[in-house]
Structures are given as structure tokens and as C-alpha cells.
Symmetry: D2
Subunit: 137 residues, 4 copies
């Protein structure tokens, strides 16, 4: 499998800045989601396609390591990389300064498929995900 | 040291619910912060006291494990427990259903002291934190 | 009709504070919603009951007048008052300091009933709302 | 004065969608702010320049009229237009579908200059704003 990595551009808005004049740490979850959406759209399996396929994919784990603060109007690259897909969907994230390319944040999320009809968690990723990933395997 | 644990009551509001009709996973960071604020206020070392003492305490690590979804208007207990303080401030969180006491989420944050004057990270927690914790040591 | 007015207690959390060290103006929409939820629950016609009754009630108009800033950990009273219900649901809001009772903010929202089946807007409020309001008419 | 109008592109993210599967109405305040930031940057008088000039410009009034819902991943144009500047800063907003150009939302904000040193509101806009606007007057 060639690695599946995508990049999203982002600029830190005013409403994300806290009284210490840096991006409030909880806002990074939205930034990770923007990156994840770009990645999932690249394999045509974003939220609407997930739902149409009969599966919800709730996030069951989140990890963020904040190395450097993000500042108002800082231009960023939000990078998402698929690292597990057989039993669960694990995506790694890096936030980089768009100019210096310095890595400012890294982290990951884990999602699992849940059958929408019976709310049961799938211990193996459904066939639909493998099909969507075929071009990358 | 007797364990320093505090409880905050919370009810999931409408604006935290996502299209899958559960609390969107990024909102838990706010819930953790509500719990952390209660804990830090209990030792008289919340954000304004931190700032007055010359230190910022940015979150440098966040971990969340989502075991069960949180539903609209579900009444919750947000529990925060201090588990490290000598070199960094590590707080563990549990979100429980207020009625059944079932644990729905757990996680932690790590904060480090940063000297506001020179923006340098402290590798040992400043004396002020130990003083605030004296009653618990 | 006796006026239908309810009060919700609230304390301004850290994540709502902006770099000017006051509550960011967009967060007031959440505060209004907390107040509205309390009001709608008092007549047993909150979001789940609305949905079960076959109607969505989207907000079609929002007005906020910010008279005084809200500060970190300020204790507030969020007051909601029903002022129109025959053709649309108009609710007025006041945010007061919990101690001084000084009014800091006022505003309103307007919602209209939309039939969930055909997405058509109702130009008269559905019977269910009048029934829920019977005790107050 | 030639009208000062700017356009910002935006796509509705997942975390802005509510259980009715439309953009939650409070998120529009962030969209307006994105549009306002673009406008204020175009005259070199965004938040950092405001602060450096000795003035805060709190929003004292917000109005939003929601005509049509915004959907997940809908591409939008956020348009901001300066309509008053002599005594206060009044900006009008329109949200349009990027493809059809249909207007989905309109509204406005009013901001006033507050002297950062004494927290007093200015009843006439400070000279710095007129200078920034010179090219447009």
C-alpha cells in the first residue's frame, strides 16, 4: 500500500484564540476533523457515504501532542495520513507552519464501524471500506 | 497525599449534538476543562491565580477514550483527579452517567508551567503549585 | 396569559473567553439556547417533543444587543420569556449578573414551525404548541 | 465612497451540523467573523492593528436573518460590506450558495471603538479608522 496522505490549508481565526493569545487547545479537534474530511473525501467515503453504506464511524480515541502554540492568522498545513484500516480506522495528524514547515502538533484518532441498524460495533472493517481503499492497497 | 478528586455536574446541551444524534467528540474537551476548572478552583489555583503567579500552564497533551456516546440532555458527572504535579500537572478525567454511575468516557491532560516573562518551560513545577497543594500532600 | 418566563444559572467558562479577556460575542448564542431549552422544557415541548410532534422549529431570526461584557467565571442569570406563539415562536432573552442583577445583554430569537414530512413552513403555529401552552393562556 | 465589499470562500464542516442535519444557527456568527476579518484585513485594520492603535472594537449588536438552511459541505460565499464608519463600524453580511449565488442568509454587526487605556467608548470613530479607509472615501 502506498501511504494515503492528504493536506488541508488552514488559517487560525480570531474566535479560536484564547486569553493567552494562542489557539485554545480544544479547537485542534476541529482542525483534525477538517484534515480527516479531506482524506475521507479523497477515497469517496466521507460522512454521507458512510451513512449511505449503513455504518457510522464514531471516534473512539483521540490523542493530541501540542508542541508549539498556534497563533492568530498563522497559516497552517493540516496533514492526515491513514495508518490502520483493517479492524479500525486510525488516522495520524500533523499540523505544520505553512511557511517554515515546522511541525507544531501531532496526534491521532481511532474510529470503528458501527452497524446503523443494530448499533453493534464491527470488529473487522466492512467490505465497503476496503473497496474504497482498493486504489491504495 | 490523599487523592484530590472533584466532581462537576453537567447536562448535554443541544448545540453539542451532531447529526448522528450523539455529543460530537470534540465537545468533550470543553467538558474536561469544566472539570479541571473545578479542581483548580478547589486548590485556589485556577487561570487567574496562575497568571498572577507569573505562569501560564498550557495543555501539552490530551487523551480521550470514548466508550459510550453521550446523549442530548443526559445528566453527567465530570470527575477530575490530580495524578501528577511535581514536574507537570497531569489530570485524569472520567465522565459518568449521573444516574447509573456507568463510566462513559475517560482521558487525561498534561500541562506544564511556562514562565510568562521569558516563555520558558519549567522542568520542575513552580513552588506556588506545591504551596497550593500543601493541604493534600 | 400570564407571562412565561424562566431563569437558568450559568457561569462563564474559560473556553468562552477571547483575547480581549471577555466572553466572545458568538458564545451568547449558546447561552440563549440554554435559556430557551429551559423554557421549552417547562412546557414539555423541547427538541425531542418537537420532533416527535412532526415539526422542526428552526431559528429564522436572531438579535443580540451587547451592553456590558461578560467576564471569566462571572455568574449569570439567563432569562427567557415567551412573547409570541400564534404564528411563530418569539422568545426574548436577558442576561443579568447573578449578584447585582444588572442587565448585561438582551436579545431575541424567532422560530417557525416546519412540517418535517414536506419541509413546508407553517404560517400558523401547529395545534400541539397551543396545547402545550394551555396552562399559560 | 466606493462601496467596500469583500468575499470569503467557505465550506460547511461536519462539526457545524446539528441533529436536524443543517448548520446550527450559532455557527453563523463565526462565518460572519471570517467575512469581517477579510474585510478588515483589506484595509489593514484587523484585530492586531486595532489593538496596536489603542482601541478595542467590541461587537455591540448582532442581527441574523436565516432564509435558507446551510448544508454539510455546501460551498458558500461569505460577503461583507462596510456600511457605517463615522461613529461606529457597521458591517452587513450575506451568505450565498457559491454555485447558484442564491442568498441564504443576511445580517449585520455593529462595533464601537473603546479606548483600551480607560475602557471608555468613543462616540466618534478614531482618526486611525478614517485613515485606513482613505482609499475608499
Amino acid at each position: 500500500m502506498k501511504p494515503l496522505t492528504v493536506r488541508t490549508d488552514w488559517t487560525v481565526p480570531f474566535h479560536d484564540i484564547d486569553p493567552m493569545e494562542v489557539c485554545w487547545h480544544g479547537n485542534y479537534v476541529r482542525y483534525f476533523e477538517l484534515a480527516r474530511t479531506t482524506l475521507l473525501q479523497s477515497i469517496d467515503y466521507d460522512y454521507p457515504q458512510m451513512r449511505a453504506s449503513g455504518y457510522a464511524w464514531p471516534v473512539i480515541e483521540l490523542f493530541i501532542r501540542y508542541a508549539q502554540p498556534l497563533m492568530y492568522q498563522q497559516r497552517l498545513h493540516l496533514d492526515a495520513r491513514l495508518i490502520e484500516w483493517e479492524h479500525r480506522l486510525k488516522i495520524a495528524y500533523e499540523i505544520r507552519d505553512a511557511i517554515t514547515q515546522k511541525r507544531l502538533t501531532h496526534g491521532h484518532t481511532v474510529q470503528v464501524a458501527v452497524d446503523i441498524r443494530n448499533h453493534e460495533m464491527c470488529f473487522v472493517s466492512p467490505v465497503i471500506l476496503r473497496e474504497k481503499l482498493k486504489a491504495y492497497l
